[in-house]
């Protein structure tokens, strides 16, 4: 239950901070969630990663669908990802997810170091 809550909260807080703040504030969001909802480091990492991955990949997928993949196809051939929209969505999710995951570990250690 904690795990799922952490994922949802991470996604939610990251989304809200993204509306007003620079992209990297998701690290603060993921870290804070992991500090408050305490889990072991591995689980915290996974929750942070999944929370942001789902948010970023989900948003990207939604925007890509509405856009009919017009821009993802072009950007994916520049990056280079062979012009694959799916690859770009996946990379988007992973990059955000990695930051979220490491931030969450940090948050988790902060809590355990505070005990």
């Amino acid at each position: 239950m904690k795990f799922i809550t952490a994922i949802i909260l991470t996604a939610l807080l990251s989304f809200i901070s993204g509306l007003f703040l620079p992209w990297w504030c998701l690290a603060i969001a993921a870290g804070a969630v992991a500090a408050v909802i305490h889990q072991k480091a591995g689980k915290a990492f996974l929750a942070g990663l999944l929370g942001v991955f789902l948010l970023w990949a989900g948003l990207a997928w939604w925007m890509d669908m509405k856009n009919n993949s017009v821009i993802s196809h072009k950007v994916a051939s520049i990056l280079p990802l062979g012009g694959s929209s799916w690859a770009l969505i996946l990379v988007t999710g992973l990059v955000g997810g990695l930051v979220g995951g490491f931030a969450a570990i940090t948050g988790s250690f902060l809590r355990s170091s505070a005990k």
């Binding site: 992209w23 925007m63 990059v95």
Partner: protein, 837 residues
């Protein structure tokens, strides 16, 4: 190492209180460092790789530029810069139809729309014009930037702004346009900035009248800076005798079909320039070499077609006007389609993002279009400096002071570069000891540039007046002050007049003045005046009922002035032949003519090539190619193999004939025009240039024609194995993004034929940038298409949506909206503007 942003993150974590020292402080610190490092790495530009975290973030980066397919452009906007209310109606191709109460509001909104749909283009083009490309591209653009500054691009734009701001009407319009661009930039939120900014990790910069002037000067450079070859000509003069020069670089081609029909009688010239006494010894027979050359010399194919047929030749009895300007094709397109309406004016056509007005278009009474004059309006003078400081130069028997401008070039990811440019009475000293352009090892002759684009002028005002012209007199009046780049303005009116004026400010030259670098130690070689405006080549309502211009020499040898230039002959011949043969012309006929693939030059060349080829010396494969060529229908159509074989053979032949002659000193040389080569071949079969001077035996014409074919065949066989023998596949026509390296934003492999010397002038990446046909009936019937779309956003369906229409030479019907159409079903979105009190 830590940035402020990253430090904040760390602090955020550290404010949680520590209760006990028996902690897992080590893993905490390690993971905090990893997180911070990751954020830092993803928030930073690495070489040319943009900050990936920011770029990929769905709420900040590229995904924000993914314009939904059903995006609405409806909006209600208010700005303090507006005087009254205005509405913009967008049709289904996102063409805005702007209805404003007055001129200032009209151009404010044009500026706003240009910025909204083409912001990066505005920014990039004017930064490049001003020699600030290094701010975006880094140190690889420094030499380009130095050249732009040394050519005096900013100086030219500053002179234009002074001229614009002298006239209160112009100033009000340009100010309004600038306010409109800035109104959009101010309202722009960071996630909404164009994707190119995100890729390059830079920010938009505010607009100014100077930047509008810079854009217009960039057009002046593209169209009037590459039309001289003075430096290369100087080298040619040093190896060829004067009579050879006349043969290799003739002023009037044998086959010329000029704009002003042959046989026209010209008045006595209003000014007769006098050749300096010492011209022969100091200039015409002087043998000297120049190593300098331009880095970014504009494409000589920056030409165009326009023509107009009178009511006497059309089925409807109303004139039809056509225009297709040939430029480097780009995404976003150089053109932005728009209709501009006030209670006193109503014009439709294409505008240049970065400038107010409609440049090519029509209104309720007239239509107009432009092609390039190709005239030489830029000369070089050799300067003698007193010393390395470049503070003084020798002129008319004494040391005169230069004005030294210090140029600071900001370089992305590098140190500023400082360059000093000395200005003389002639203009800026473009080449000197420290800068030789394309030649990086030159010893450095000091060459000052005299170029009409530097002279104070207000080209925009011509378009302001043309947008409102009602008849021939208004049109002729509007053109009078147009200075540079010289253009052929084609015209038709509903009252039935047709006309062409070649307009610009052109120096009155004595014979061969300015073909080569001129002495600059006194005033004797300076321009003595300009051709009086009313003597510029022009013609109105010719009896034959049609007029055309296609970058050829505008007049035959009867014209009383010496007018060098980089003229292109073949297209004018094709168009003239076609139009002369037509009667009862319809819009459909004109569309067909725009798409014409006939290769006029090859019509003559084919016979010559077949006459001299020694077939018995060819292999079976070569004979096969020759057979395809023999059966070729002279059409450069997309699937034509004959065109590919012809072009490769011809290029190879030109190299065989000229390369040895011209590469003697490894310096820039002007190649004779292909038209000239063809005419020389046609005239005599004992061409002595055919002999390769680097071999002991004497080659004759059959030798070189056969050798050229064999060389071409090797390349052709290679192309054939790649499946690229068909013309369209061979040339791989591509519309690149403004940043050529962003291949993903380009459209390549277009199934289109044509070539620079053919009416449908599509080369690899250059060609008809806008095709327009206006039938001056009531109501006006107009068609147009450009290879791109209205939006500059690669994430918009309007980015490139007309490319296929353009490839197939199909057209959009242009909707000339009227006051009564405000509720028409063509309207998809409405933007309402009002003034903010």
């Amino acid at each position: 190492m830590l940035t402020d942003e990253n430090r904040k993150i760390l602090v955020t974590f550290l404010i949680f209180p520590h209760h006990s020292p028996s902690m897992r402080i080590v893993p905490f610190t390690v993971s905090a460092i990893i997180t911070t490092g990751l954020v830092f790495a993803l928030n930073k530009q690495w070489g040319s790789v943009s900050p990936m975290g920011k770029f990929l973030s769905p709420q900040h980066g590229l995904w924000q530029n993914a314009e939904p397919e059903d995006q609405s452009f409806d909006a209600e906007l208010s700005f303090s810069g507006l005087k009254g209310r205005a509405e913009v109606y967008f049709d289904d191709r996102l063409v805005p139809h702007v209805f404003a109460e007055n001129d200032e509001d009209l151009y404010f909104i044009q500026g706003y729309l240009h910025a909204k749909f083409r912001l990066f283009q505005l920014d990039l083009q004017t930064k490049a014009a001003a020699g600030r490309a290094s701010e975006m591209a880094g140190k690889k653009a420094v030499q380009y930037d130095r050249e732009q500054r040394r050519l005096g691009m900013v100086y030219a734009a500053e002179n234009a702004v002074k001229e614009i701001e002298k006239d209160p009407v112009s100033k009000a319009i340009f100010d309004a346009y600038t306010s409109g661009v800035n109104a959009y930039i101010s309202s722009l939120k960071e996630p909404d900035i164009p994707i190119e900014y995100k890729l390059l990790n830079i920010k938009p910069e505010r607009w100014s009248n100077l930047r509008t002037a810079l854009l217009l000067k960039m057009m002046a450079k593209n169209l009037s800076s590459g039309t001289e070859s003075d430096l290369a000509n100087t080298n040619a003069k040093s190896i060829f005798m004067p009579d050879e020069l006349r043969i290799l670089y003739p002023q009037v081609p044998d086959s010329l079909v000029p704009i002003v029909p042959k046989g026209t009688v010209f008045n006595k010239p209003g000014i007769v320039p006098v050749k300096p006494v010492l011209a022969d010894s100091l200039y015409l027979t002087k043998k000297d070499m120049v190593t300098a050359g331009e880095i970014s010399k504009p494409d000589v194919n920056n030409g165009s077609n326009n023509w107009v047929v009178a009511g006497s030749k059309t089925q409807s009895g109303a004139p039809i006007l056509c225009n297709d300007p040939h430029l480097e094709l780009s995404l976003p397109s150089i053109w932005y389609e728009i209709q501009l309406v006030t209670p006193n004016s109503n014009a439709y056509g294409v505008s240049l993002p970065g400038s107010p007005f409609i440049i090519i278009g029509f209104n309720d009474s007239i239509a107009w279009g432009v092609t390039n004059s190709q005239r030489d309006v830029k000369d070089y003078y050799e300067i003698k400096f007193k010393d390395k400081s470049k503070a003084e130069y020798w002129f008319n028997g004494k040391w005169e002071k230069t004005i030294r401008k210090e140029e600071t070039i900001k370089v992305k990811g590098g140190k500023d570069v400082i360059d000093t440019v000395a200005y003389t009475i002639f203009g800026p000293v473009m080449y000197d000891e420290s800068f030789q352009g394309a030649d990086s090892i030159g010893k450095g002759r000091n060459l000052a540039v005299r170029w009409t684009a530097h002279d104070p002028s207000n080209e925009g005002y011509t378009f302001y007046k043309l947008n409102r012209a009602k008849n021939y007199d208004d049109y002729a009046e509007a053109l009078k002050t147009f200075t540079c780049p010289g253009q052929n303005f084609v015209f038709a009116s509903k009252s039935g007049d047709i006309a062409i004026w070649q307009q610009g400010k052109f120096p009155a030259r004595w014979d061969r003045q300015g073909l080569y670098v001129m002495p600059g130690e006194d005033s004797s070689f300076m321009w003595q005046g300009f051709i009086p405006q009313q003597e510029n080549p022009h013609i109105k309502n010719p009896e034959r009922g049609f007029l055309q211009s296609a970058n050829q020499r505008p007049v035959d040898s009867a014209y009383p002035y010496f007018i060098p230039g980089s003229y292109i002959t073949p297209r004018g011949i094709t168009i003239d032949n076609k139009l002369a043969a037509m009667t009862g012309i319809t819009v459909k006929d004109m569309m067909t003519l725009h798409g014409n693939y006939f290769n006029t030059l090859a019509e003559d060349a084919k016979g010559i090539l077949l006459k001299y080829i020694r077939e018995n010396e060819l292999s079976d494969k070569e004979k096969e190619y020759l057979q395809i060529f023999r059966n070729w229908d002279l059409m450069a159509s997309p699937d034509s193999k004959g065109q590919t074989i012809y072009q490769c053979w011809w290029d190879s032949l030109e190299a065989e004939i000229w390369k040895d002659e011209l590469s003697r000193a490894k310096l820039p040389f002007p190649w004779p025009e292909e038209q000239t080569t063809m005419e020389i071949l046609k005239r005599d079969s004992v061409l002595h240039y055919a002999d390769n001077i680097n071999t002991p035996q004497v080659e004759n014409l059959p030798d070189v024609v056969t050798a050229a074919f064999k060389k071409a065949a090797t390349g052709l066989a290679q192309k054939e194995t790649e499946g690229k023998l068909e013309w369209a596949k061979f040339k791989n026509s591509t519309v690149y993004h403004l940043i050529k390296d962003l291949k993903g934003f380009a459209r390549s492999g277009l199934q289109v034929g044509g070539n620079g010397n053919i009416i449908n002038a599509v080369t690899h990446s250059h060609g008809p940038s806008w095709r327009m046909i206006v039938h001056l009936t009531t109501p006006t019937e107009a068609y147009g298409v450009f290879p791109g779309g209205q939006s500059g956003n690669p994430g918009s369906r309007f980015y490139d949506h007309d490319i296929d229409t353009w490839v197939e030479v199909r057209y959009n019907k242009l909707w000339f909206m009227r006051e009564g159409d405000r509720t028409d079903k063509n309207i998809k979105w409405v933007m309402k503007f009002s003034s903010k009190s």
